[in-house]
Symmetry: C2
Subunit: 345 residues, 2 copies
């Protein structure tokens, strides 16, 4: 009989409408491929050569202030610029449109040696406040349609500076993944008068199979359709559209679940766990988006150990995303780990 735990199958990602392939038996295959270097551990609290540390010089020649909490500035190498001339290129099958925007860098802490799981909850709250400020400020520009807040953590995720930091890319059009999630959530909201993720959360809380952490205001879980081995999602219990709508209590609860989830990640392989993470929330300057339900995705690449990652290559790039362990196995593993960081135990 068909069994999700044992047999290859596809699962529906309700947020994008895409199906992903799961091959549970595939972890039995021995690994003879690439083994990554372990990331350097024990960084100093201040690094004179780091362009993100307080008081240091940046590549544009300006100086960072002696900041004490989270600190934000405009990216010196922004992918999106606010003064891009608008225009189009249309040669029937060749179509292009100009894209403008604003890119910002957010230092999470003045302390070069830290990462989110090693910061205090109070310090993480300051980061959340900065995310809120950025969201408020950037949405005042009427040409901005979407604000992507994210973090690339670890060299293996293309992060070029280990100083704890994230980014904000605000764009003049709604990016691909967000268009898909908007459509799916709109369809659901129109049909059911409730948000897609409220109902999904209810199912998950009933089943308890993929839940990792739950607090009063947030749930961290491995989504049923996860594609990265230890992919997770933080969902707010309340149906809010964006980060600005969180109450003080919710802010505190978010800081707490962020610290716990990222500590569990580090505890998994006793290594500073690499990932790309980011919030998904409603577009801005784009009318009403009642359907939108705030959430945050974590996409970590590691599969077998601190040095062996999942390669999303050949079949995944050309045909279909594919994973080797089930979401339920990954969730059970993450659930069983301590929420207190191994360095703080």
């Amino acid at each position: 009989m068909f069994d999700l735990k044992e047999h290859s199958h596809t699962r529906l990602n309700i947020l994008t409408g895409d199906w992903i392939l799961v091959s549970p038996h595939r972890m039995k295959r021995p690994w003879q491929g690439k083994v990554e270097d372990l990331p350097a551990d024990n960084r100093p609290a201040y690094d004179a050569g780091c362009y993100l540390c307080p008081g240091n010089k940046r590549s544009d020649g300006s100086m960072n202030p002696a900041y004490e909490n989270a600190y934000v500035f405009t990216n010196d190498f922004s992918a999106l610029l606010s003064d891009t001339p608008t225009g189009e290129y249309n040669n029937s099958l060749l179509q292009a449109k100009s894209e403008s925007g604003i890119c910002r860098v957010i230092c999470f802490s003045p302390d070069h040696s830290l990462t989110l799981p090693l910061m205090s909850e109070q310090a993480i709250e300051k980061v959340i406040e900065l995310w809120q400020n950025e969201f408020a400020e950037l949405s005042k520009h009427s040409f901005i349609k979407y604000i992507q807040i994210f973090e690339n953590k670890g060299e293996i995720m293309g992060c070029s500076n280990p100083h704890p930091h994230g980014q904000v890319w605000a764009s003049s059009s709604i990016p691909l993944e967000l268009s898909k999630e908007t459509t799916q959530q709109q369809n659901y909201f129109q049909q059911h008068g409730k948000s897609l993720l409220s109902d999904y959360l209810q199912t998950e809380l009933q089943q308890q199979e993929r839940i990792i952490i739950e607090n009063e205001h947030f749930v961290a879980l491995v989504p049923f359709w996860a594609v990265w081995p230890y992919e997770t999602m933080i969902v707010s219990k309340r149906h809010v559209q964006h980060v600005l709508q969180f109450t003080d209590e919710e802010k505190t609860a978010l800081a707490s679940i962020l610290k716990q989830l990222t500590a569990k990640y580090d505890n998994l392989f006793h290594v500073s766990f690499p990932y790309s993470a980011g919030m998904h929330q409603s577009p801005v300057n784009d009318g009403v988006h009642e359907e939108w339900h705030w959430h945050m995705h974590f996409y970590p690449p590691l599969l077998r150990s601190a040095t062996v990652k999942k390669f999303m290559v050949g079949y995944e790039m050309l045909a279909n995303p594919q994973r080797d362990i089930t979401a339920e196995t990954a969730a059970a593993t993450l659930r069983s780990l301590s929420a207190i960081h191994y360095k703080e135990q």
Copy 2:
């Protein structure tokens, strides 16, 4: 004035319907991030420890024959199996379907030290014949709906054995990327009575801006919407649905363009150039697919040098694929390189 060469913009991928972000000015940013190891060069022609070399033992205990040309066998760690029980799981927002299939491994050559660009055109023709045989054989199984032929080349692309080889994953449903390409091509064919890629090829041959190599039967180009830095596509001039329809002449021309394109790749950074590559062709056992036009994608990760790749992370995973050099710049670079491999010059 808006200029594709200078200003950030999005471009339409006509094969998927998705838009990708191009930030031409971004290459100016200095790179302080991850630098990969150079792949080992100068492998022996035979490696006693390699499970793909002729006469050696595989992990399931069986022995490879003393094969002389391309050689195929069923993957000992197949992601898709032919005996998966059919079934479904449907709990409203949690939806899954069983997926069965057949996975095969194709050794391109008995010589452990070779890669496609270093093989003779005659030897590459043997590989193409094997692809044709596999396509013919696998499509005889009526439960198979799509046959994905691909190669992961290089450790950095998750390839766990440097012996020249590729894979075939045949599945009981049509994978995501292929569904998208089918829809786009169907829409175009219905409206114009011609294949999407025939008309696209005509535009590209007129403009000559993104063409890398052209021979009597095939064109290698950087697609207008390429997302990987040196992404390319080989398109057949004749509108055929799949690899089995190629004439002997076309087979020879395909072998030739494959050797030339992959040699140019190696010549770019004087390194065995990593990539994932694979054919896209019509589904099988799924009615008539006149709209389909055979092509082959190459997705190579390198960006700046033999050791610095493009990271498709944070913004790309969460929001929108993004590239740092334009398709036209990449095409000009590849076009200017010799089509004769630096080791054969």
